[in-house]
């Protein structure tokens, strides 16, 4: 149970951490100052969520590691984020589609998790839900603007959807970790979130005059530590200081 709760918490934490890391690459490079600030706000929310979740994971593990050890000193296959969130930023359309798919999942997920039997996870979910509502509004509006904007933006957002949709199913990945915790009312039955997820996806796509890709092909692996090639580079950058100068205070 302890092991499962540790893994379960890491999965949530790593999604926030890695997406926060990706978004923070935008800082100083946004398409307009106002949006630069908005992207950084979302990154900050996600880093904040990751910090709370990793602190809790460290506590659950009880081996004397802290949140920073978990964030910066695991090996590639010990991170359990979905492959979706580690995908490279690409253009603004790729960043926003990645964000939007993720937010659309996170919204019903946190809604459910705030009623978890695990009080700590429930409290983190309750706080994060407020942030996620705003993220979803922001990313959804952009999907609509791009889809129903210019010819170029419609093409770009459609390309991004083609590129990323195959990673969306992994958000619903479940294994024994989930099933064990579900029986105790801690974990969420992710299958139960699908209707809310699909409904929100369609609601936005319709206004954006966009359609999902035809292909039903889905990828996964991140939840069990198998990642895409981009991920090692992301970690090399993120872990640089802790790897180059071990055991120091910063």
């Amino acid at each position: 149970m302890k092991n499962s709760l540790f893994t379960y918490t890491l999965r949530i934490a790593d999604d926030s951490l890695i997406l926060g890391q990706r978004l923070s690459e935008w800082c100083g490079h946004g398409p307009i100052i106002e949006e630069d600030i908005a992207l950084t706000n979302i990154a900050l929310d996600l880093i904040g969520q990751a910090t709370s979740l990793l602190e809790y994971a460290a506590q659950v593990e009880g081996k004397g590691r802290n949140a920073d050890d978990l964030a910066f000193l695991r090996f590639e296959n010990q991170y359990f984020n979905t492959q979706l969130v580690e995908q490279k930023n690409g253009d603004f359309a790729v960043t926003m589609v990645r964000q939007w798919i993720f937010d659309t999942f996170r919204l019903p997920f946190y809604e459910a998790l705030q009623h978890s039997a695990d009080k700590q996870l429930a409290a983190i979910a309750e706080k994060s839900l407020k942030e996620t509502k705003y993220h979803w509004k922001h990313s959804s509006e952009w999907i609509i603007r791009m889809g129903d904007g210019t010819e170029e933006s419609a093409k770009r957002v459609n390309d991004a959807l083609q590129l990323l949709w195959k990673f969306s199913d992994e958000l619903f990945f479940m294994d024994d970790v989930d099933r064990e915790l579900m029986s105790q009312g801690i974990a969420i039955d992710l299958e139960s979130l699908r209707p809310a997820f699909n409904e929100r996806i369609q609601f936005v796509l319709q206004q954006a005059t966009l359609q999902l890709p035809d292909s039903k092909w889905k990828l996964n692996g991140g939840r069990v530590g198998r990642h895409t090639e981009h991920f090692g580079h992301l970690l090399a950058e993120m872990q640089y200081m802790q790897r180059a100068y071990p055991n120091m205070e910063w």
């Binding site: 100052i33 904007g149 950058e237 120091m248 205070e249 910063w250």
Partner: protein, 315 residues
């Protein structure tokens, strides 16, 4: 509406300055005053925006979660401050976009300090401590500048920036309490940023073309050299307190003046960097230009969508 002749208007404007009454956007002001303000405020705004890049360089490599969040928030503040300043500039009838284009072509300047590279994590400490420290020295008097929107933007900025310098100094303190490698890293960062930080106050008063007029107009409240001296006097004890050595062999306390004497700035370097030959000038501009060009289709899409929505509403 009353008819006014130019002499009356100018007299009324000068009277306001004399009485420290703020000039507001729709008030009459001499063209040269308006131009000087647009130049100074836009330069200040560009500095905030370009200033995001050297620190942004380390966000993805910040050594722990706390530092990562702090650095993100700080760099984001700089974007916010750029935004407050552009907003003040736009009250003078200038366009933000044109002004940014002027920066990209080199016609408009930004603070030269951001043309120096950030090479190690300690540079995040040095930049926060020295660069923000120098900026605050410059900015606090600007809270009383004569143009209302500029003064109000500066009040906001100064309030928010007080954390910037502290977080930088905190990074330096942590490093100086750490390993030998960390101490060396901190000292190296100070060695590289000390002189460029002093250059942030601009040319010496003897060589400054704009200072006197700006002081008469109460846009500026102190000369470059006065501010530089204040900065040196404030910063030297902070360095000594944590065991850092200021890289200036001529630096010593002058009992008679009640100030530190310090060595001669390398003005050659200053003018070279100002005119585009610093280590990162080309790269900074190229990065900002790329952000603008890559963002073009995004801005157009949002406008196109807004217009479609408006048309739908109207029909």
């Amino acid at each position: 509406m009353k008819e006014h002749n130019l002499a009356d208007l100018e007299a009324a404007f000068n009277e306001k300055l004399k009485q420290d009454i703020r000039i507001e956007p729709k008030d009459w002001m001499p063209d040269a005053y308006r131009k000087t303000l647009i130049r100074q405020i836009s330069q200040h705004a560009h500095s905030e925006i370009v200033g995001m890049l050297p620190e942004g360089n380390w966000i993805t490599r910040a050594p722990n979660l706390r530092r990562k969040a702090v650095l993100l928030a700080k760099v984001q503040d700089e974007a916010g401050h750029g935004q407050y300043l552009y907003s003040a500039m736009e009250t003078l009838g200038a366009s933000r976009e044109e002004s940014i284009d002027d920066m990209h072509t080199g016609k408009a300047k930004y603070s030269s300090i951001f043309n120096y590279p950030t090479l190690t994590w300690a540079d995040m400490g040095a930049v926060g401590w020295l660069v923000d420290g120098a900026a605050i020295m410059n900015q606090v008097p600007l809270c009383r500048t004569s143009y209302g929107p500029y003064a109000r933007a500066m009040v906001r900025i100064c309030k928010e920036e007080s954390f910037h310098q502290r977080q930088g100094y905190e990074i330096m303190c942590t490093l100086m309490k750490g390993s030998e490698e960390q101490k060396a890293m901190a000292q190296d960062a100070l060695n590289r940023f000390w002189w460029p930080a002093l250059m942030m106050f601009g040319p010496s008063d003897a060589d400054s073309t704009h200072t006197q007029q700006s002081i008469d107009w109460k846009i500026k409240r102190h000369t470059n050299d006065e501010l530089r001296q204040m900065f040196v006097d404030a910063t030297v004890p902070q360095a000594e307190l944590i065991g850092l050595t200021i890289p200036d062999k001529d630096l010593k306390w002058n009992e008679e003046r009640g100030h530190y004497d310090f060595g001669e700035i390398n003005w050659d370097e200053f003018w070279q960097v100002v005119s585009g030959n610093g280590p990162c000038n080309a790269e900074r501009i190229a990065t900002r230009l790329k952000a603008k060009e890559d963002g073009m289709w995004v801005r157009e899409a949002a406008m196109a969508h807004a217009e479609k929505k408006k048309a739908k509403k109207a029909s």
